[in-house]
């Protein structure tokens, strides 16, 4: 057991040379060539409002930190040996935000800017630690223009959703989060918020507030301090950059920023009629009625499809049919979003693992209640099923066998796309419906975090694990689905594709190719699942992401 290290003056701070000190003091203390300065009791080390080009590491003695508030000076803490002070103004363009006075004779090591930057180079952990200190000492302030949406939950609790200015992320606040948000006025530190929360029924831990602030900063809802332009930002290691390039190639998306205006105009010029009663109900009935002609036309279409020579031209119809189905599907989502008064941020096309995709960004629907969000998610599948119905009815009405087969093939694609989209185990419409039904936003991310918690080496008995069984169940289901999808993909290649490849390639190569593709799918799946679990484990182990001031770009835009 360690002996208590009470200081007579009640000051705090890591004690040099003993356990509990971090990489900060370890990196900076060996710098014997740095200037040491003695501060007599009562003397001021630095004053609020001054510019600062150096910070100080307290070696011996005690320092009192206070800030000038409209109501008078306010003491915010006392620092003991090992504490760093004055680093905020050193790294940012801001003036000193507090006054520091020695409460007894003290000695500090003076760290000019160059010494600190040099220490960053030799010790990567130092930058993280300084970021942590900055975030704990600052008085965070809400960003201008953040809108607050109130939403009720099934349990009678009021949830607030913050709509950030520009295109930042939406943020969901539980009641304690709202308590924190109301105190982000540029005057409260984390310590102040904790002390105020002690008088409530639900006192907050400082770590909880730090995590909340990290989320709010990332979303753009809280002002972020600007890093001085001469502080170099560290470049990611080569393997990380290579992985990023590979990921961008596998997940290519071409985004159309003007989609919001287009869909707004489409809604005004006729799209709104689809949402007038009884149009939605009629569309649903029509979509369901399409199943009958779909099966009827299927038996006729098979006459042509079973003859490879005659069915080959149908392949030419396949790609355009897929694109049309995708565009209609996304238009359904977009019009529903506009109908509820929200904007479509963007739309686009691309591929995921070489499979073509289309998307609309309906992030703005976070401002809606969950029922409306579910309607937006279901509008795409409903559009696909109406499209399938139209094609199916047209197929049975056709006398021409080729036209029947082509239309039936189109209906088949629309129906398969519908089923695929409703599968909640894929990050598609069904997933959003499920996560909204369960009132569990970011369900996939939470599921992998929950799974990572029960991987050996992490605490399986943590409160988060006990509370997160739906997430664990969902995460396990996703992994089982991935395994099944991988096996069925390999089987499909062997049964369907190999017959075609046999005609083009030599026998040995044709036999080996499906296995090679299968192996590729397995490796990709394992890497995908592994990377998600690793990311979740890193997040759990590291806690909230350390605060990093953003470098200012020449155009003044700080968003990454």
């Amino acid at each position: 057991m360690n002996s208590p290290r009470t200081r007579p003056d009640g000051s705090s701070g890591p004690v040099l040379g003993q356990e509990g000190r971090g990489p900060l003091s370890q990196s900076l203390m060996p710098a014997e060539r740095l200037e040491r300065r003695t501060i007599r009791a009562g003397a001021t080390l630095m004053s609020q409002g001054q510019a600062g080009d150096e910070c100080y590491l307290l070696r011996t003695g005690s320092l009192e930190v206070s800030i000038a508030d409209p109501g008078g000076d306010r003491r915010i803490g006392t620092l003991g040996p090992g504490s760093l002070v004055g680093e905020g103004a050193l790294l940012t363009d801001e003036l000193r935000n507090a006054t520091v006075v020695a409460t007894r004779d003290s000695e500090v090591i003076v760290l000019p800017r160059a010494a600190l930057l040099e220490a960053f180079e030799t010790d990567p952990g130092l930058e993280t630690e300084l970021g942590t200190l900055l975030s704990r000492r600052e008085r965070p302030e809400r960003a201008a223009g953040v809108l607050v949406h109130e939403q009720g939950t099934g349990g009678g609790e009021v949830i607030r959703v913050l709509e950030p200015p520009a295109l930042g992320s939406y943020v969901r606040l539980a009641p304690p989060g709202w308590f924190i948000w109301q105190r982000l006025d540029g005057r409260h530190t984390i310590k102040d918020i904790v002390l105020e929360s002690l008088d409530t029924e639900e006192p907050l831990a400082p770590g909880t507030i730090a995590t909340a602030l990290a989320e709010l900063r990332r979303s753009g809802c809280v002002k972020t301090r600007a890093l001085r332009t001469d502080v170099r930002t560290r470049q990611a290691p080569l393997r990380h950059r290579a992985a990023l390039v590979l990921e961008r190639l596998m997940y290519l998306e071409l985004t159309w920023k003007g989609a919001g205006r287009f869909f707004g105009s489409l809604y005004l010029h006729g799209g709104h009629r689809l949402f007038r009663r009884p149009a939605p109900a009629l569309l649903l009935v029509f979509a369901l009625s399409g199943l009958f002609p779909f099966f009827l036309a299927g038996s006729r279409a098979s006459l042509l499809l079973e003859t490879p020579e005659r069915s080959r031209p149908l392949l030419l119809v396949l790609v355009p049919a897929l694109l049309v189905a995708l565009v209609f599907h996304e238009t359904g989502h977009a019009l529903a979003t506009v109908h509820y008064g929200r904007r479509v941020r963007s739309a686009g096309v691309g591929w995921h693992w070489l499979v073509p995709i289309a998307f609309v960004d309906t992030t703005d629907t976070w401002a809606l209640g969950r029922r409306r969000r579910i309607v937006v998610s279901l509008a795409g599948p409903l559009t696909s099923s109406v499209l399938a119905g139209v094609a199916s009815w047209a197929a049975v009405a056709q006398g021409n066998l080729f036209a029947t087969a082509a239309l039936w093939q189109f209906a088949l694609i629309a129906n398969l796309s519908l089923l695929s989209n409703l599968n909640p185990l894929k990050a598609r419409d069904g997933y959003y419906v499920l996560s909204d039904l369960l009132e569990r936003p970011n369900l996939r991310q939470r599921a992998f975090t929950a799974l990572a918690r029960i991987v050996p080496g992490l605490r399986a008995d943590s409160p988060q694990w006990r509370m997160g069984w739906p997430e664990v169940l969902y995460g396990l289901s996703v992994l089982v689905f991935l395994a099944a999808a991988t096996v069925s993909s390999i089987a499909s290649y062997r049964v369907v594709v190999k017959a075609h490849i046999d005609r083009i390639l030599p026998d040995d190569l044709a036999a080996a190719l499906p296995w090679a593709i299968g192996l590729l799918i397995i490796v990709a799946t394992v890497l995908w699942a592994g990377s998600h679990l690793r990311a979740a484990r890193r997040e759990i182990a590291a806690g909230p992401a350390p605060y990093r001031p953003q470098p200012v770009r020449p155009d003044g835009d700080r968003r990454g």
Binding site: P14, Y170, I180, I190, K191, L195, E202, P206, G207
Partner: protein, 77 residues
């Protein structure tokens, strides 16, 4: 940390001044949080607090999950 650092019935384990001392230490020493997680007793004792078993157990089982959740982009495909 904190439902025990109050004047509520469950409290009495920590005085308000002790909470302030812990907060000062947490604010100025990034390593303190790691120590608090790995060895709550040593962390509390390093601040001059003699902790009870209940306090140590409570600190060790803290749930620091945030009441704030960044909502991911809804890119509907």
């Amino acid at each position: 940390m904190i439902s025990i650092m109050t004047n509520q019935p469950r409290a009495g384990l920590l005085k308000r001044e002790e909470v302030a001392t812990l907060l000062d230490r947490w604010t100025n020493d990034a390593a303190f949080e790691r120590l608090l997680k790995s060895d709550p007793r040593a962390a509390l004792e390093s601040c001059g607090i003699r902790p009870s078993e209940e306090l140590v157990a409570f600190i060790g089982g803290l749930d620091l999950s945030a009441p704030v959740q960044e909502l991911q982009a809804r890119l509907i495909r």
